[in-house]
Symmetry: C2
Subunit: 444 residues, 2 copies
């Protein structure tokens, strides 16, 4: 064991982004003899896999988000800075922040993830919000709940209301989860709330441009997913390319699909910080990294999580939580080796994604699970759903939240009760015409 | 027992406002043979006495707010309409809503409460927000937490930061609670969160225009309150009339008091719906009501809660939760009597406020309680604080919330842990100069 030299200037690690990759890296680095600075625009880490449950009023924001400072408060070598990055200078090894501060680094971990992509139609964002942040989730919640409120009010005034059709664009995990959850709340949880409308008449439509929903899953699970979605009353339309989105409707080619609330789960693009590194990017803007997660010629820079384009066995590792956490862990471990003894670092094996499987929940007691570890299995239905629940409770960061989420779920799922259907933010009671467009993101 | 005549057209009761008075009235009317419509701009009832705990990140919005529909869903005779009132026509007995709908009533309960008053200086609202709604609470939370974040960042950049002085204007119960809670979070809960600033150096100043804080309380409790506030490190300045509020400072006469975050707890005014009734108002805009809570010559209209000016033993009943609930209950009961048998209604005694006492919490283990029922006592300190906790948990509407609040408190108070210090809404990282003014209310 090498003696600790108190005179030695400790290496400084700067982490950009406090998602799964950044937080995991920070947690491991907290135990090493380095100084760590983690920088994020938000003051909290968000447990993204459960964000759709905040959007659909099953959980509260506080259940799935935790201040970064709280998560890392025991790491006395770590400072948290709430700021945005303006520029990265890899030659001088420094990061310039929006506030004007300059952070020098010996090692840099870039883990700023991805954001929505509207494929160049950015005006769609106001009409069909996506789901990446707590603010997005409360925005979607407001729109979904207001759609029911407006229908009730219109029924009262005119004796009729537009069809309660919710359109979800994109049939990946997020789209499937959102669609299933809207169906759940309208068919199970809200039925007793209204006197004039029948919430069970709500329709949910998934418009998927590709040939299948859940493209990453094996065909048998894709089929099971569609069956379960249909059982929940969700219509799945594959090969449906959206050509326009307007308040109140969506165009698929020449076909006009009326929609009281349209949600976007179709595309992501890499965070713009990738560009700042001045290295090779793929067409989604992800940074091409080598076996050590370094961009070419930058061995002191690590790119982790959704922002990294890492290929394994000829396939890109997917942009989900598990690989992000593993990458964050790898980068931190490697920094530890390089700092302690560069020789060991040189001998370290490259990163390898250990795939335990994938899960997507569809609704109450409905999910699909492709399990790779600790055994191989393709599950669907109740078993998959229970596995999903247990895994997600287990991985929730922080005991307090885990406990609270468990209680909320117990209530909501078992008793089919309540949830937290608060409409917060603009309550200025728009009409149908104004509901979709400028209610806007809550990020006022 | 009179036979129920199924042919009889049932009376319609319209309730405006779903605060304590409106919800209590609705709950009692739910058991009677009338049709009830309750109208509110928001979709939820807010448990206002705990709002300051949402503002200071101890509780989540979902802990203290519940959808009106959820609270009343078992009352099959009750409909909930989310809308605003445009006009009340007492001659035609109808209410015109913003959406254009018209609601006819046989009995009307007006319980729309009160709002902030900036004494004509409405421009102060942007700089020194008040606390009435969930949106106000998250807005205040954001400002308080951002003040610490900005100090940390500035310390990092320049090695110094402005004094973390929080100014609370108004020394009533809300002002005292806010001040005590800011002191608590900065001195107990946040100390481990930051690396560069010492959150314990935060100062909290209460500026009270009158001669005492907690004007409604007996002098011995006022004195105890000041002692407890001082023990928490809160400076109390009575007779301090605020003459101007600007971003970054407050003027008291010629004295300039710098402030990184200014909160308003100084004045309330009655809801503007009082004016729509075309009856006599007091100087705060409250509706003068008779012994049956009716405005003059309108026996089918009841005004309850903060909006009512009701005098008992020569004193106006205060605008707090207890009288509001009792008024709502009285109005509902009276409507029941009038509908069933107008003779009994004629003989009914007038409303009388049954004063059980008042409590104001100051901080962790600190409170004052003026207990009138079931025995007379003036308590302060831990005993008062525990009483306050028990009473508030008991009165929280809905078991789910009560349980969740209890858990959150147990964590926060006993373990001095976490809370939910999420900054939600604008995270655009303003500087000091822009923090105070246009971050604006979350009601975007």
């Amino acid at each position: 064991m090498p003696a600790v030299n108190p005179e030695r200037v400790r290496s400084r690690v700067v982490i950009l982004g406090a998602g799964f990759a950044g937080i995991t890296a920070a947690q491991r680095l907290g135990k090493l003899k380095v100084d760590v600075t983690i920088i994020d625009r938000k003051n909290h880490h968000t447990f993204q896999p459960l964000l759709y449950q905040v959007a659909l009023a099953v959980l509260s924001p506080g259940d799935i988000a935790q201040p970064i400072r709280s998560i890392l408060k025991k790491n006395r070598n770590t400072e948290v800075v709430m700021d945005s990055v303006k520029e990265i200078d890899t030659a001088e090894r420094r990061v310039l922040l929006e506030s004007g501060a300059v952070m020098f680094y010996d090692y840099l971990i870039v883990a700023t993830g991805s954001t929505h992509s509207y494929f160049g139609k950015d005006q769609w964002a106001q009409i069909a919000p996506g789901l990446k942040t707590i603010e997005d989730a409360t925005n979607i919640r407001r729109r979904v709940l207001l759609a029911f409120e407006l229908a009730e009010r219109q029924m009262l005034e005119t004796g009729t209301h537009p069809a309660l059709r919710f359109v979800v664009i994109g049939g990946g995990p997020t789209g499937v989860e959102l669609a299933g959850a809207i169906s759940d709340i309208s068919k199970l949880y809200m039925t007793k709330d209204f006197r004039h409308i029948d919430t069970k008449t709500a329709e949910v439509v998934i418009l998927e441009g590709g040939p299948q929903v859940l493209g990453m899953y094996p065909p048998n699970l894709q089929k099971k997913a569609v069956e379960q979605l249909n059982a929940l009353g969700v219509t799945v339309r594959c090969g449906a390319r959206v050509t326009d989105i307007q308040p109140g409707y969506v165009m698929v080619g020449e076909e006009k699909i009326e929609s009281v609330c349209t949600l976007w789960a179709a595309g992501v693009q890499a965070s713009s910080l990738g560009k700042m590194l001045g290295v090779e990017l793929d067409k989604k803007g992800c940074v091409m990294v080598n076996e050590h997660l370094n961009p070419k010629n930058l061995p002191e820079v690590f790119v982790c999580g959704d922002l990294a384009h890492f290929e394994q066995d000829g396939k890109q590792v997917p942009g989900v939580a598990q690989p992000a956490m593993q990458m964050g862990d790898y980068a931190a471990k490697r920094i530890g080796l390089l700092v302690a003894d560069s020789d060991k670092g040189a001998r370290q094996k490259g990163f390898r994604y250990f795939d335990k499987g994938d899960m997507a929940t569809i609704g109450r007691k409905a999910a699909v699970a492709r399990i790779v570890w600790p055994f191989h299995a393709d599950w669907s239905g109740v078993m998959a759903w229970m596995t999903w629940m247990m895994v997600h409770i287990f991985f929730l960061i922080g005991f307090r939240n885990r406990y609270s989420v468990f209680l909320s779920w117990a209530y909501t799922y078992i008793r089919r009760e309540d949830g937290v259907r608060l409409i917060v933010g603009s309550q200025d009671l728009p009409g149908w015409d104004t509901l979709a467009p400028p209610v806007g993101p809550v990020t006022d």
